[in-house]
C-alpha cells in the first residue's frame, strides 16, 4: 500500500516537475529580479552574503522611496521590486540550469548576480539565447567582453585588469627601488590571472625586476606554513597577493607571527573587506585595494551615506565593503537605465491633441519600458553610484569603466585605517576597447590600437 | 591407455606446513576416482593444485599431455578441467536458471577458442533447461540461488561445473551437508550425467559407502602423502588406511560441511 502510494507520488512529482507551466503573464505590477550570489561555500562569507544583505537593504529602501537623488522614484520606475535569491554554489553547470529556471520558470524580469568568473562566462551566452537582461555585479575576468559580444549582458563593475595595473603604479610610486618580487595567489583562474597581470605589469613598468617565487596554494588550502617559509626564504622586497576570504585571513594569521612583513612589502589587491576583521594582524604600510573606488575609497556623497546607512541597518552595524558597493552599482544601473528608458518614452510620446487615440497613446507612453528599450538606455549610459560615476564604455557599451584607488594601512586606536590614498583614472588602468588585457600590458599600456 | 591427467612429484608447503608431499597420480580417461583422507590430509590441496588455485612448490601436472602446472584456473577450465566446491560457489542473487546460463554464455561466447572439443550451445536457454532436467533441478528453475536448501545448492554447484562441458570433473565433498537418504540420489544423478558426457571424475568423499559404490579407484591421503592407491576394496581394507583414515576422524553421514 505504502509502496503504491509512494510510486504514485513519485510519478506525480515527475509529471508535475515537467509539465507545470509558469503563471500566465499578467499586467505588470512589480519587477522581479533574480539575484544570484554565494550563500554557501568559501565565497559566501566575504562576498555572497554581504551582497545579499546589500541587495535586500537597497531594494527595501528603494521600494519605500527612500533612495537619494537621482533615485527617489519608488522601486524601479515606480514598480516595487521583488527579489528571488538563488545560491551561486555548485559550479557553472548547475548555475546554467538554475539560470534557465530563473528565467523560464520564475519568469524574472532581470537577473543580477554572479561572483564567480566561470559562472559569468557560462551564463553570458545563455542570457543571449534566452534574451534576458542580465547584469553581472561582481565577477572580474576581462574575458567576458574580450571573447564575446553580447546584447543582453552588462557588467556594472570594472574588470580585474586595473587591480594589477594600479597596484603596480602605487607600489612603484612608494617603493621605486623594488627588485625582488614574489607572489602568493590561489591556484584558480582569478588567482592566476591576478598574478599574471601583476607580473606582466611590473616587468613592463620596471624592467629588470626579478620574480623570486610565485606560490600557488590550492584554493581553500588553509595551511600556508610551507608557502610562508618559501616566501621568507626567497627574501622578496614585495609580496603580491590576491588572496581573499578565509584564505587571506588564514594566511595573515599564520604569516604575521613569522616576521615575514618586516622586510617585505605586502600588496593585497583585494584586501579592503578584511581590514576591519583583522585588526592588529595587518602590518602597517600594507598596500590595499578594493577593486574600484569602493568602501573606504569611495568619495563622500549622499549616495555613499545612503548605502552605508542602509547596509548598517541590515547587517547589524557593519560598514559596507566592496561587494555591497558592487551590488548597489548593479541595481542602480538597472534602475537608471529603466527610468531613462521610461522618460524617453514619455518624452517622445505624441503631444496631446495631435494623436487620434489620446488615451491609447498615453497608456503606451506610460507603460513600463520594454526590455529592448531598457537595454538601449543601458548601453553607454552614465549613472551615479555610491562609488562615483559609472561609465558603460567598454564592451560596446556593456562593460563599466571606473577609476580605482589604492592606499596604505595604518593601525590606529584598534582599527585599521587606510591613508595615502591615490586615485587612478579609468583611462590609465583599463585597456581600450578591442584590446585584450595582457596584450595591452605587454604593449606598454598604449591608449589606441 | 594414456593417462588424461598426470601429476608427478607434487609438493606443496605453506611455510612450515607441508600440505602435499611427493604426490604421483596418473588418472585414466573415463575413470571415477575417490579421494579419501581425514581433514587436512591434502585432498583439497590436490584439487586446488590441479585446478590452478594453488601452484605446487615443485612437481608438474599434465593434462592430455600438456603441462598445465603454471596455468590459471581460468585457462585450466578452458582446457576442460572443472570443479565443484566444499562450500557451494553460486551466484547467490541470480536464479538457478541464470546461474547455469552464465556458464552456457561463457562457453557460447568463447566459441571455438576453447578446448579441442567444439561445444556450442545453439539455444542457450534450452540448453540450461535440459541441464536442469538432467540434475532434477527443474522445480527450482526460477528460485534465487541464495535461498536454496543446502542439498540443492550442492547439486547446483556441481551442475555449474558440468555446464562448461569439462573432460575432467573434480568434486570437493559433493555429499557433505546432504542428508543420508539424499546422498545416493545425488550421486546417482551426477554419475549418470558424467557417464553420458564421458567425463573423468575425481571426488573427495568421507562416506565410505559412497566411495565403495561409485569409484573404480581410491586414493588415500595422509599428512600430504598418498598412502594407498588402488581398487576400492583393496584400499578400504588396507591396514594403514584403516588405521589413519577410516579409523581416524571421518565425518559421520549428514554432518555439516567443514572447512
Amino acid at each position: 500500500m505504502l509502496t503504491r502510494l509512494l510510486r504514485v507520488a513519485l510519478t506525480g512529482l515527475a509529471i508535475t516537475a515537467v509539465s507545470s507551466a509558469p503563471a500566465l503573464a499578467q499586467q505588470k505590477t512589480s519587477i522581479k529580479i533574480g539575484f544570484v550570489t554565494f550563500l554557501s561555500g568559501p565565497a559566501s562569507g566575504p562576498f555572497g552574503v554581504p551582497a545579499k544583505l546589500a541587495a535586500e537593504g537597497i531594494v527595501e529602501s528603494l521600494n519605500a522611496g527612500k533612495g537619494p537623488a537621482p533615485y527617489q522614484i519608488k522601486g524601479i520606475g515606480g514598480l516595487p521590486v521583488e527579489l528571488v535569491v538563488i545560491d551561486e554554489a555548485g559550479g557553472a553547470t548547475k548555475q546554467v540550469s538554475e539560470y534557465r529556471t530563473l528565467v523560464q520558470r520564475q519568469d524574472v524580469d532581470v537577473v543580477i548576480g554572479y561572483i564567480g568568473s566561470g559562472d559569468c562566462l557560462a551564463i553570458a551566452p545563455v542570457a543571449e539565447e534566452l534574451k534576458k537582461l542580465t547584469v553581472f555585479f561582481d565577477c572580474g575576468t576581462p574575458r567576458i567582453f574580450e571573447e564575446g559580444s553580447y546584447k543582453y549582458v552588462f557588467r556594472t563593475r570594472p574588470h580585474a585588469t586595473m587591480d594589477a595595473v594600479a597596484a603596480t603604479m602605487y607600489l612603484l610610486d612608494n617603493r621605486p627601488a623594488v627588485k625582488r618580487v614574489s607572489g602568493i595567489n590561489q591556484n584558480y583562474a582569478y588567482g592566476q590571472d591576478s598574478w599574471n597581470d601583476f607580473e606582466a605589469t611590473i616587468k613592463a613598468m620596471k624592467p629588470g625586476v626579478e620574480i623570486v617565487t610565485s606560490q600557488m596554494p590550492k584554493f581553500g588550502a588553509g595551511q600556508y606554513g610551507s608557502e610562508i617559509s618559501a616566501l621568507i626564504a626567497s627574501n622578496p622586497d614585495v609580496i603580491h597577493s590576491s588572496l581573499w576570504g578565509g584564505d587571506l585571513e588564514a594566511f595573515m594569521l599564520q604569516a604575521q607571527p613569522r616576521d615575514i612583513f618586516k622586510k617585505s612589502q605586502l600588496v593585497l589587491v583585494a584586501g579592503e573587506p578584511y581590514l576591519h576583521r583583522l585588526p592588529g594582524k595587518i602590518p602597517d604600510g600594507t598596500i590595499v585595494g578594493a577593486r574600484g573606488t569602493n568602501g573606504v575609497f569611495a568619495p563622500d556623497s549622499a549616495l555613499k551615506r545612503w548605502l552605508v546607512a542602509t547596509y548598517k541597518a541590515k547587517s547589524g552595524g557593519l560598514d559596507p565593503n566592496y561587494p555591497a558597493y558592487s551590488v548597489a552599482q548593479a541595481i542602480l544601473g538597472v534602475k537608471a537605465a529603466w527610468e531613462k528608458a521610461a522618460a524617453k518614452k514619455i518624452g517622445s510620446a505624441t503631444p496631446m491633441g495631435a494623436a487620434k487615440n489620446v488615451k491609447e497613446e498615453m497608456e503606451k507612453a506610460y507603460a513600463p519600458p520594454t526590455q529592448e528599450e531598457v537595454i538601449a538606455a543601458f548601453e553607454r549610459n552614465v549613472f551615479d553610484s555610491p562609488s562615483g560615476k559609472v561609465h558603460m564604455n567598454l564592451g560596446k557599451g556593456h562593460q563599466a569603466v571606473m577609476g580605482t584607488a589604492y592606499g596604505s594601512t595604518r593601525f590606529e586606536n584598534g582599527v585599521v585605517k587606510v591613508g595615502s590614498i591615490k586615485y587612478y583614472d579609468a583611462d590609465r588602468v583599463t585597456p581600450p576597447e578591442g584590446v585584450s588585457s595582457l596584450d595591452w600590458i605587454k604593449s606598454g599600456f598604449k591608449r589606441t590600437k | 591407455m594414456a593417462a588424461i591427467l598426470d601429476a608427478k612429484g607434487l609438493n606443496k608447503s605453506f611455510g612450515a606446513v607441508t600440505a602435499a608431499k611427493d604426490i604421483n597420480v596418473a588418472v585414466e580417461q573415463d575413470s571415477v576416482v575417490g579421494l579419501i583422507g581425514s581433514n587436512g590430509a591434502g585432498k583439497t590441496t590436490f584439487i586446488n593444485m590441479v585446478t590452478g588455485y594453488l601452484k605446487p612448490t615443485s612437481g608438474a601436472i599434465h593434462f592430455d599431455g600438456r603441462d598445465i602446472t603454471s596455468l590459471s584456473p581460468r585457462q585450466i577450465t578452458q582446457l576442460g578441467i572443472c570443479r565443484s566446491f566444499q562450500i557451494p560457489q553460486l551466484f547467490n542473487t541470480m536464479t538457478v536458471h541464470e546461474n547455469l546460463l552464465v556458464g552456457v554464455g561463457i562457453v557460447a561466447a568463447a566459441g571455438k577458442r576453447w578446448s579441442s572439443d567444439n561445444h556450442t550451445y545453439a539455444d542457450p536457454s534450452k540448453a540450461v533447461d535440459a541441464m536442469l532436467d538432467e540434475f532434477n533441478l527443474g522445480a527450482y528453475r526460477d528460485r534465487t540461488a541464495g535461498l536454496l536448501p543446502e542439498g540443492t545448492r550442492k547439486l547446483l554447484d556441481i551442475a555449474m561445473a558440468m555446464v562448461v562441458r569439462p573432460r575432467i570433473l573434480l568434486l570437493d565433498e559433493p555429499t557433505s551437508g546432504v542428508s543420508a537418504d539424499e546422498k545416493f540420489v545425488l550421486m546417482d544423478m551426477v554419475m549418470a550425467a558424467v557417464k553420458q558426457h564421458k567425463v573423468t571424475v575425481l571426488f573427495v568423499e568421507h562416506d565410505m559407502d559412497v566411495v565403495e559404490r561409485y569409484t573404480h579407484r581410491v586414493l588415500a591421503f595422509y599428512e600430504g602423502r598418498i598412502i594407498a592407491d588402488g581398487e576400492p576394496t583393496d584400499v578400504l581394507n588396507d591396514v594403514e588406511v584403516r588405521r589413519y583414515v577410516i579409523g581416524g576422524h571421518i565425518a559421520p553421514a549428514g554432518a555439516a560441511s567443514h572447512a
Binding site: 510510486r7 515527475a14 507551466a21 509558469p22 534557465r100 529556471t101 566561470g118 583562474a189 | 541464470e98 561463457i106
Partner: protein, 311 residues
C-alpha cells in the same frame, strides 16, 4: 539483438520524449535535457555497480568527454554536435582502456580511491592550464549536426532532441548488452568472482570491458552536457561531482536501464526546486532525501516499481 518488452519501452520513451520537446515549457525541456545528460553518465555507473564496483572518480570521463567536445569547437573549429559527442566517447574510451588495465585488478574502496586519485590529477592539470581557462573553463557551442547548420532559434530543440536520441540509444544498447552473455557476467562477477574464473571467463577482462563501456557513457554524457550547458570547467572532474554520480546511481537503483534516467530526472527536479525554495539549505534537503532512500528503499527508487514481482 533481443527485442523484449524493455527494449521496446526504451524506444517508446525516446519517441515520447522527442514528441514532448516542442510541447513542454522551455524550462521543463532544460530540466529534462540536463537529466538526460546526467542519466547517460549514471547508466555507466549502473553498469559498474552491477559489476560490483563503484568509482569515486567517474567525473574524469565526464570531464574528458566534455573537454574533447569543447576542444573540437575551441581549437578544432569543428563545432559539429555529432563529432563532439563522438570525440567525447572516443577520448573517454581510450583513456579508460589504458587506466582500466590498472584498475581492473582493484575492488571495493581501493578501486574507488584509485579512480578518485586519477580524476583529481586531471583536475590539477586542467586548473594549471591557463590556455583552457583554468578553473573558469571556456564556452562551447555546437553549430552543426552532421554538417547541417542549426538554425539559431532551433538550437535548444536540436540539442534536446540529440540528448534524447543519445540517452535512449545508450540505454537501449546497454540493455541489450546486459542481456547478452558478456553482459550477464557483470552480475556474476558481483556475486562470485571465483566461480566466474572457474567457469572459464576472465573477470579482469570483463571488469575492464565494463569499465571502458561506462567511461564511454560518461564521455557521451559529458559531451552532451557541454553542448547543453554551453560551458565546461574542471569542476566536472572534481570529487563532489563524481560523488554526485554515485549518489544518483544509488538513488536510482540498478534494476533497469530506466532507473538511471528516471533517477537523474528526480534528482535534478529535487535539486532544482531545493535551490529555488530552500536556497540556504539545499544541501540538507539532498542529504536527507538520500538518507531516506537508503533507509527505506535500499534498492533505490527503482525498487518501487519492481517490489511486487518479488512478493
Amino acid at each position: 539483438m533481443r527485442i523484449d518488452r524493455n527494449s521496446i519501452a526504451v524506444v517508446l520513451v525516446g519517441v515520447v520524449l522527442l514528441a514532448l520537446g516542442p510541447v513542454l515549457p522551455s524550462w521543463a525541456v532544460s530540466l529534462l535535457n540536463v537529466a538526460l545528460c546526467y542519466g547517460t553518465v549514471v547508466l555507466g555507473m549502473m553498469l559498474l555497480m552491477r559489476t560490483g564496483i563503484v568509482s569515486f572518480g567517474h567525473g574524469l570521463y565526464y570531464c574528458l568527454g566534455a573537454y574533447a567536445a569543447g576542444l573540437l569547437d575551441h581549437f578544432g573549429k569543428m563545432p559539429d554536435m555529432l563529432l563532439m559527442v563522438g570525440a567525447g566517447a572516443v577520448t573517454a574510451g581510450l583513456v579508460a582502456a589504458v587506466l582500466g588495465l590498472l584498475l581492473a585488478k582493484y575492488r571495493d574502496i581501493f578501486f574507488a580511491m584509485l579512480s578518485l586519485a586519477f580524476s583529481m590529477i586531471l583536475y590539477g592539470l586542467l586548473v594549471k592550464t591557463a590556455s583552457l581557462g583554468s578553473t573558469d573553463g571556456f564556452n562551447v557551442a555546437a553549430k552543426t549536426v552532421g554538417g547541417i547548420v542549426i538554425a539559431e532559434d532551433s538550437v535548444r530543440i536540436v540539442v534536446y532532441s540529440l540528448a534524447v536520441v543519445f540517452a535512449t540509444l545508450s540505454a537501449f544498447l546497454l540493455h541489450q548488452y546486459l542481456a547478452s552473455h558478456q553482459g550477464r557476467l557483470a552480475g556474476a562477477i558481483k556475486d562470485n568472482e571465483l566461480r566466474v574464473e572457474y567457469m572459464g571467463a576472465s573477470v579482469k577482462a570483463a571488469v575492464h570491458r565494463n569499465y571502458v563501456i561506462s567511461a564511454v557513457l560518461a564521455g557521451i554524457g559529458g559531451a552532451l552536457m557541454a553542448v547543453n550547458i554551453g560551458h565546461i570547467d574542471p569542476e566536472m572532474t572534481y570529487w563532489p561531482q563524481s560523488g554526485e554520480f554515485v549518489f544518483v546511481a544509488i538513488l536510482s537503483g540498478t534494476g533497469s536501464v530506466f532507473a538511471p534516467l528516471g533517477g537523474a530526472l528526480v534528482f535534478e527536479a529535487i535539486r532544482s526546486f531545493a535551490y529555488e525554495y530552500s536556497p540556504n539549505t539545499w544541501q540538507m534537503v539532498l542529504g536527507i532525501t538520500m538518507l531516506l532512500v537508503m533507509i527505506f528503499l535500499p534498492g533505490g527508487l527503482w525498487s518501487l516499481f519492481t517490489r511486487k514481482r518479488g512478493a
